[in-house]
Subunit: 549 residues, 2 copies
């Protein structure tokens, strides 16, 4: 049996290695256009000194490694030009010598990956415009910076590659502008969570230009101005294009493999394409949601590894099947960790779910233990089934743990009520007696089962703008109220609420709030039991309101 793999990064090498583990006798060949294989695509990380210096660490495995360890033949700088599925042959070109030859396969894996989107705008081909995806790209950016010492850079695209790059460049002393046609960074997230990221970027000196599409990159030899819609022009010494990536499906299209609605190669749970004995895996292939099976294109190294392993197993007769993804993602920009799993509120609504949401601001570990920091969690649950659909978390510490707990719980179909019962590890350096995830479950459960509705800051602002009469009660101490409060709020500290609430109209909707939501919840409990008809606690409290306002 001869297995041919096209593409030698995460999915391709995972597949080949797994195939070998299953079958010692198969012939296994990898072709890759690039001169490096198996590099960590997403590890273009930044330290103060610049993008990772020890380039060898980024390319941990070479052809020799694969031959010795797995008896796999890797041909780098080799392009597969065409496939003939009817006779199971392919045409390969040695890109160094130009020589072309025919190869054959019994099982073929397309793992051609993805590439940065470079829109066909004026100036895109100038020498100081850089895509960012591969080690080669990072090398080119590094080289340009060292040689030209740019003072300013514009990053086009507010996704995580763009935001990681922003930190990198700021740490090198470069003035960074970041442009995105969307009104927010990180479009997979909800706007009310992206705002926290945006504030942090601005605090770190990144100038944001949101809501304006890039129209042209202007300049004679080099780009000197980025021209945005609405007549905005930003001076710059270099441009990083990070608006997204698209799957490399040219080869697949050539042989009429079916693509999915996201434009990536459609595969079944065995990683099989629409053509027999042709598999696809990694960034060129379409995944689907664990939650509801809907197509999802979130090209990430962790998913590519999974898909590759499954493809390798299937090509050698195994029965490992793909179960889908949650689109879990995480990245760090400056001091902030930003993570997401499952569906955002907007995504869930777009898919037809009637949802409840909460914002939960909590310390990552016991407040009194050194270095505790607050994070904000936004969680989304399905009103009908109570199933947790997704979570977004932003904060300096402990975010990775909570997103993984959410991801695990969601994978197993957790309902909001289930989170409270998790026996998570508690000690002051690591968590709080009620972990933020547990607390989030308690809030969602209160909305779903115990008539303890939340109102988000957005909803409050909209209802106020609509002219609706709402009693807003600031339940904090007078000093806090004096230092700043929501316009129109009356100050009734919780301790006085039981007596003072009697004079309020029970038929007017009430919103209670404190700083983060805990005392607001206590006040909500009191008022509901006093017979107030409609009482909301402000989601995430005053802190969240001020962030969003």
């Amino acid at each position: 049996m001869r297995i041919v793999v096209i593409g030698g990064v995460a999915a391709g090498t995972s597949a080949a290695a797994k195939a070998r583990r299953n079958d010692e006798n198969a012939e296994i060949v990898i072709y890759d256009r690039d001169k490096d294989i198996s590099y960590a695509v997403f590890c273009l990380q930044k330290k103060k000194g610049g993008i990772i210096k020890d380039r060898k660490k980024l390319v941990p495995r070479d052809s020799k490694f694969f031959k010795e360890r797995y008896n796999i033949d890797v041909f780098t700088s080799h392009s597969v030009l065409d496939i003939r599925p009817d006779v199971k042959k392919l045409i390969v070109q040695n890109d160094v010598t130009g020589e072309r030859f025919e190869d054959k396969y019994d099982k073929l894996l397309i793992a051609t990956g993805a590439r940065p989107i470079m829109p066909p705008i004026q100036g895109i081909d100038k020498p100081n415009v850089f895509p960012l995806r591969s080690v080669a790209h990072a090398d080119a950016i590094n080289e340009f910076i060292e040689k030209n010492q740019p003072e300013r850079a514009v990053i086009v695209g507010g996704g995580f590659i763009g935001l990681e790059m922003a930190e990198n460049l700021v740490h090198r002393g470069i003035a960074v502008g970041l442009a995105d046609m969307a009104q927010q960074v990180m479009t997979p997230m909800d706007e009310d969570m992206a705002i926290y990221v945006q504030k942090h970027l601005e605090q770190n000196g990144v100038k944001l230009h949101l809501g304006h599409a890039v129209q042209a990159l202007l300049g004679s030899d080099y780009v000197t101005h980025v021209q945005l819609a609405d007549n905005i022009s930003i001076e710059t010494d270099m441009v990083i294009m990070a608006i997204g990536i698209k799957p490399n499906v040219e080869l697949a299209k050539k042989i009429n493999i079916k693509l999915g609605p996201t434009g990536a190669i459609a595969v079944d749970s065995r990683m099989q394409t629409s053509i027999p004995d042709v598999y696809a895996a990694g960034d060129c292939a379409e995944a689907y949601s664990v939650i509801n099976g809907k197509p999802l294109y979130r090209p990430l190294g962790s998913t590519a590894n999974k898909m590759g392993r499954i493809a390798g197993d299937q090509m050698t007769g195994g029965d490992l099947e793909f179960r889908g993804i949650l689109g879990t993602s995480i990245f760090k920009t400056f001091d902030l960790t930003v993570a997401q799993t499952g569906l955002s509120e907007k995504e869930a609504k777009a898919q037809g779910y009637d949802v409840v949401v909460c914002h939960n601001i909590k310390y990552d570990h016991a407040e009194y233990y050194p270095d505790s920091k607050e994070m904000i969690i936004k969680a989304v649950a399905d009103k009908a089934t109570h199933r947790v659909l997704g979570a977004q978390i932003v904060g300096p510490r402990g975010v990775d743990k909570r997103i993984d707990v959410f991801a695990t719980a969601i994978t197993f179909g957790a309902k909001a009520e289930d989170l409270f019962h998790l026996d998570l590890a508690y000690a002051p350096p690591f968590s709080t007696a009620k972990d933020p995830v547990i607390y989030t479950g308690m809030i969602l459960e209160g909305i779903l089962n115990r008539n303890r509705p939340l109102m988000t800051p957005h909803q409050l602002i909209q209802r106020q703008l609509g002219g609706e009469l709402i009693t807003i009660i600031d339940t904090r101490e007078p000093e806090a109220y004096k230092n700043g409060h929501i316009e129109g709020a009356v100050n009734i500290p919780l301790a006085n609420l039981r007596s003072q609430a009697k004079r309020l109209d029970k038929n007017i909707p009430v919103v209670t709030y404190c700083n983060r939501g805990v005392t607001g919840n206590a006040a909500q409990n009191v008022l509901l039991q006093m017979g107030f008809k409609e009482v909301y606690n402000l989601s995430g409290g005053y802190f969240n309101y001020m962030a969003i306002k």
Copy 2:
């Protein structure tokens, strides 16, 4: 309705607060013998400067707080002397004035907590012998140290309180000895994991005296020697007793409430005791395992909070039910985090499970990204159902995250095969493309489904001692082999294995190993496919073997 709560720490205050949230009109009273309530029992944490200085932070809530926020009456320094369930009355004593009075209840919660075990040995009552459990205990220890400047201390008990204390005292410049009658520290863990903790303690200057029971504390006014079995005597200036805690069940026994097999108060999923309208929660109550419902006494703040909330809900007509615990625990000693969830190997075996185990040494995040550190994970799965039964993790970083992911997965009944499919968050600062948990699942799955058995270092040593003929293959490069290898191992680097293995006897059992197990697994694959009958990969590789040896 009148709700009386006996005990005002985690469970008692959680219950009272929840009862109030549910019922604005109930009378709610808490009696506590202590003068502080709601303090964080387990937060007796240590910094270099000593146990936490700002004592206020440890007692965040006082009587005034509970009155203002929840309209709950808290009586500190009040002991409940007796209960009369037949007439729903109790006798209370004001411990300051000595006054006694009668109170009545509709619902009663016993949340009397637990206390340190102080064995009745000679010298236990000397003034330089300290239990460690409450803020008052910590104060007493602090005061003694400041006043007497002890040079040496002996901690009796190798549980997490003892080990946290060891770090604390070492950081104050005190020479610390730690004695435990068991042959290992942290008896809930398996010996082959506790060994990692022991080595770390020794590296940090803690002198361990394991396997010797304490017989007496000798000295005239003060203890000057701790006398252990086997004629061992340790000189010391102070003694910390940390051999464990036992539930405060005297009051419960007085009224013939049923205790469970662990000696704590038996409760059902509603926290009801054997006496109607009398509930119990927190460290005085017995929990049970999420996995199989077996009684479990692991008194921890997180569990006490859960039980309290459930009791408070039930006493006010709610339907929240306890689902049990995994006994998840975590602590930090020096630079090491030590965590555990579910069943250990010995516990699982004692409960009749036929188990498979693996040891998995992995980086907490991408090796090339700064500050990555290795952790060791031991996981236990049930051979019959493939269910993951438990995990133990030791390492300097990222341990808390993985134990919580295991705890969450185990709670939902995860099988070994499920772990691979988790879509956990990956970026180089936070994890590896295959997270350690995912990798652990892959190893377990290999044992269970793909005939890729592991041999633990213990098993290898035992089989060698039994005189069995085993081919041991060191698959590492010759330099590594030269620097140290398992006695009797032959060195066949993986790259040469396919050719050189031909001359080996296929009928003799083979053990392969590398440093951590990955290359050993690759070698195992090769040999099994070459027709070797019985091939094991060494669990955790050479590193784990050397740790245990």
